[in-house]
């Protein structure tokens, strides 16, 4: 099986913002053979690990969606954001490509609906359900990918 990398990111102290991390943790439980990384935010140091992977899933909380959704991402430079300790999935893929001349054959951002960002270590009920839905979404993508190989 080709290498799959799951990256969940967010702030575990800001309620639903932890949705990405919770999804990566759930993925690690259900699919222990897959490398799952939990992060506060994406950083350039991840470029090497991404370059070594065939498929990458970025799990993140999303305030603009009402159900978990998947978006295929391609390398690009996001010019309107700081380029230091925070970096977008698109920029990170670009960095992997430029530094290591390799990048995953597929990279997905899975957006998890999130609405409550007050100081809390608990997800809202709707986001809890969406986390499970997001992991099922990733698993179905993996299944269809494996069936094609």
């Amino acid at each position: 099986m080709k290498k799959v990398l799951v990256i969940g990111y967010g702030n575990t102290l800001r309620g639903d913002d932890a949705a990405g991390i919770c999804a990566a943790e759930l993925m690690a439980k259900r699919r222990p053979e897959i490398e799952c990384v939990c992060m506060h935010q994406l950083m350039p140091e991840m470029a090497e690990q991404i370059a070594e992977s065939d498929t990458v899933f970025f799990f993140d909380a999303d305030v603009n969606v009402t159900q978990s959704n998947v978006r295929l991402v391609a390398p690009s430079i996001e010019m309107d954001q700081p380029r230091t300790h925070f970096i977008s999935p698109e920029s990170l893929l670009r960095l992997s490509q430029q530094l290591y001349q390799r990048m995953p054959s597929k990279a997905y951002v899975i957006g998890i609906p999130a609405s409550q960002f007050e100081f809390s270590e608990e997800l809202s009920e709707s986001t809890k359900k969406a986390v499970e839905e997001s992991v099922r979404l990733a698993e179905s993508l993996l299944l269809s990918r494996n069936s094609k190989h």
Binding site: P44, P82, R83, Q98, L99
Partner: protein, 477 residues
């Protein structure tokens, strides 16, 4: 009529800030201010929390140097418990602190400042970033990213995760180090040492390339404050405070860190949320002082590791006849020397058999109602000062953060650069000048999220104002 220039937001720093540059009737720069417009309030909302929660809470102040807050908070806890922590725990905390220095300094030098140095202050701002660096020198960029990764990996190994690890606690640390993990860290040392060597070589070329501009980047005499070991060596975890002036006179020495409040005051200005600490005996604002790499390498008598000590002597030769390097541009040089020291010292600590000890935590209840923790964070000396009740509930907290301590000097640096580079008669700020003003701030590698105790991203806003307050020009990024 005088005018004012505003730069907002300031970029490639940690936090959100703006700069205003005031011109007089002759269009000459008369004042420049670095405004910090974030507010967080950690000191207030930690009141009522338990002492044992403080390392975990205060480490959330910052995503760049959480380990420094973690260790300093735990040290304030040690003081309140009145315990001496086990030797292994101290070595492990030292290892964590050095890993923090390494990853933070690598971020500052390679990611934040190198685009100016390697691509040029006047290069296209659209490519003056990490992607521009990759295009210019892929290997250099890759090395910088990996050096930071090394620091992050040590933090992750020790604490279980890269950011906001809850591993350090009052009385010691939670988990001992596994032997296999020690070897994993040691395997990084040759590459890390070589990468710092590359950084130093690159920086020395930069010193030559910008020889005419460097004298205008925060070149003035101030006090320097930091920790030194009991023998006067470069220190990062313990020791005593030393204060030197810009002529190498020792103003005060062997100050117990817990007595810092007797020596340092905090002034406030209505135009910034960032306080203005000063050395009390010299009053405000004459008591301006600098902390961080430049201060530490200036005030110490020696560095205990050979390669860093050899580099310190070369650094000192830049000072002319005063034996103190007063130019803030050389913060970068001092930062690279400290990276070298960190790599060497990490290797020494990992090769010490005691690092694998299993006695790692002293247990005690509340024995003092007040405690102070002090360490050298990447950006300078950091204090956590707590008052508790008999149950260990925080009654009052004061956090004196490195970036705040450089506030007066950052303002003076901005004024010096603005005075030298801005032609007020044109009433415009060119992109290159804007970037030089920002670069002056970046010498200090400020972390405004830490120092204002920020929510959101941290972009720069520069305004050029007339004497009557009219905005003549404005740049935002």
């Amino acid at each position: 009529m005088s005018k004012m220039i505003t730069i907002s937001p300031v970029t490639r720093i940690e936090g959100h800030a703006k700069i205003t540059i005031q011109l007089d009737d002759n269009h000459d720069v008369v004042d420049a201010r670095f405004h910090v417009n974030e507010f967080r309030g950690f000191e207030k909302f930690t009141e009522g929390r338990l002492l044992w929660e403080m390392p975990g809470i205060t480490s959330r102040i910052c995503g760049i140097c959480p380990a420094s807050h973690l260790v300093t908070s735990a040290k304030a806890g040690d003081d309140i418990l009145a315990v001496e922590i086990p030797a292994t725990a101290e070595k492990l905390r030292r290892l964590l602190t050095l890993a923090q220095w390494l990853q933070s300094h690598a971020l500052s030098f390679f990611h934040l400042s190198s685009p100016d140095f390697l691509l040029g202050f006047d290069s296209n701002p659209a490519t003056r970033n990490v992607f521009g660096l990759v295009a210019a020198d892929k290997e250099f960029t890759k090395r910088g990213i990996r050096l930071r990764k090394f620091g992050q990996e040590i933090i992750e190994i020790l604490g279980g995760r890269r950011i906001h690890t809850p591993w350090t606690v009052p009385g010691g640390v939670r988990e001992p180090l596994e032997p296999a993990k020690k070897d994993q860290m040691l395997n990084w040392i040759p590459e890390a040492r070589e990468t710092v060597g590359l950084a130093l070589n690159a920086l020395k070329k930069i010193h030559k390339k910008y020889a005419k501009e460097i004298p205008e980047f925060g070149n003035f005499r101030t006090l320097f404050v930091g920790l030194v070991s009991k023998n006067g060596g470069l220190e990062y975890y313990d020791g005593f405070l030393r204060i030197k002036d810009g002529n190498d006179n020792t103003i005060a020495d062997a100050i117990e860190p817990k007595k810092y409040f007797e020596h340092f005051g905090e002034a406030v200005e209505p135009w910034s949320y960032l306080k203005f600490p000063y050395y009390k005996p010299f009053d405000y604002p004459k008591g301006m002082y600098r902390v961080g790499p430049l201060a530490r390498v200036n005030i110490c008598d020696y560095i205990e590791t050979p390669l860093a000590e050899a580099e310190r002597k070369i650094f000192k030769s830049l000072s002319g006849n005063v034996n103190v390097v007063n130019n803030s541009f050389y913060y970068h040089y001092a930062r690279c020397i400290e990276m070298l020291f960190a790599v060497e010292k990490i290797e020494m600590l990992l090769k010490d058999p005691a690092i694998l000890g299993e006695t790692i935590r002293a247990q005690a209840s509340i024995n003092r109602m007040e405690g102070v923790g002090c360490t050298e964070a990447p950006r300078g000396v950091l204090f956590h000062h707590y008052h508790v009740n008999k149950d260990g509930v925080i009654q009052k907290a004061n956090l004196l953060i490195a970036t705040a301590q450089n506030n007066l000097a950052m303002n003076r640096t901005v004024r010096q650069i603005a005075s030298h580079f801005i032609d007020g008669k044109k009433g415009k700020i060119t992109e290159g000048i804007l970037n030089r003003v920002e670069a002056g701030i970046r010498c200090y590698d400020p972390c405004l999220s830490c120092s204002t105790h920020a929510f959101g991203h941290m972009p720069l806003h520069v305004e050029l104002l007339s004497a009557g307050g009219e905005v003549l020009d404005e740049v935002r990024r």
